[in-house]
C-alpha cells in the first residue's frame, strides 16, 4: 500500500471524528497524522508544497453529506 492509500485509509477510519474537529476544513494528512488544517484551499496547498509529493493527501472534512459526493449527469463514466 502506497503513502496515499495509507493516509486515505486513516482519513476514512477517522472521518467522523475529523468532521467534528475540523468541520468544513481541508486537512493535510501525512504519515497518518493531521499536519495542517484550514478552511482555505489555497493556504492548504501552500502548506502542502513544503511536503514531499505523494507522501500526503488533502481531504475536506465536509459535514454536509450531499456536498461530499460528486455527481455527473452527462458524459463521464467511472
Amino acid at each position: 500500500m502506497n503513502s496515499e492509500d495509507k493516509n486515505y485509509k486513516y482519513f476514512k477510519k477517522e472521518e467522523n471524528n475529523l468532521k467534528k474537529k475540523y468541520p468544513k476544513e481541508f486537512v493535510v494528512i501525512c504519515d497518518k497524522k493531521i499536519v495542517f488544517h484550514d478552511k482555505d484551499l489555497n493556504k492548504t496547498i501552500e502548506f502542502a508544497r513544503q511536503l514531499e509529493a505523494g507522501k500526503y493527501i488533502i481531504q475536506k472534512c465536509e459535514t454536509n453529506e450531499a456536498n461530499n459526493i460528486q455527481m455527473f449527469h452527462t458524459r463521464v463514466r467511472f
Binding site: 486515505y8 482519513f11 489555497n42 460528486q70 455527473f72 458524459r75 467511472f78
Partner: protein
Amino acid sequence: MQNFTAFTKEEKGLINVLKTQVVITIDKKINPNYVKIKDNYTAIWDTGATNTVISEKLAQKLNLTPIGKANVSTAGGIIEVNKYVLGLKLPNNLKIKNVLVTAGKLNDTDFLIGMDIINLGDFSVTNLNGKTTFSFRYPSCETIDYVLQARELKYKNLRKQLKQMENQIKKGGKCPCGSGRKFRYCHGKNQIKQIKEELEKVKI
C-alpha cells in the same frame, strides 16, 4: 462594478456543446513527475457536473501525483477516485489556480469544467438571431435576472403609454372611438386608470 476578466465565444449558428480550449499550469512541487504533452486541451463546460474532471488517461500520461480521493456517485453506487491539483488557464488568459480535479473516463474531451469553476463567476449562454454566444467572467460581480428585466421593460413601456395619454388629454382632443366626446371624458379616464393599476403591479 468591480474589475473582472472574461472571455466570450461566439458561434456562427446554434451549438449544443459548450467547448473551449484550456491550458494547464503545473506546480512542480505538487506534481514533480509531470510530463508535458501539449499546450492546449479541450474542455466541455458541463452544468450537470458538480466538479471539474480530468480524463483518467490524460492524468496518467501527464504523470500527475494524486492529492487525495473523491467520492463519486455512479450507477453502481459510490466509488472513490483520484483527485489532482492543477491550475487552469481559460480563454483570454483567465487564470484559475489550485483547482481540485477528479479523474474520470472521458471520451470526447480532456476536461469537463464543472460547477465548482462555473460557480466562481458569471456564466451566460444566449442565442439571439440563431447565434450562440457563450460568455464567462471571473469573479462574479452582477446578478442577471431575466424576470426582473422583463418587469423593467414593461414598466418603462407603461410609463411611456401613460405619458402619451396624459398629453392627449392636455390637448383636449376627441376620443378615437368616434363618440364625439373628449378623450378625457370618454375612454381616456378608464384607460389611464388601467395603466396606473398595471404600473402599481410591476413597480420595482
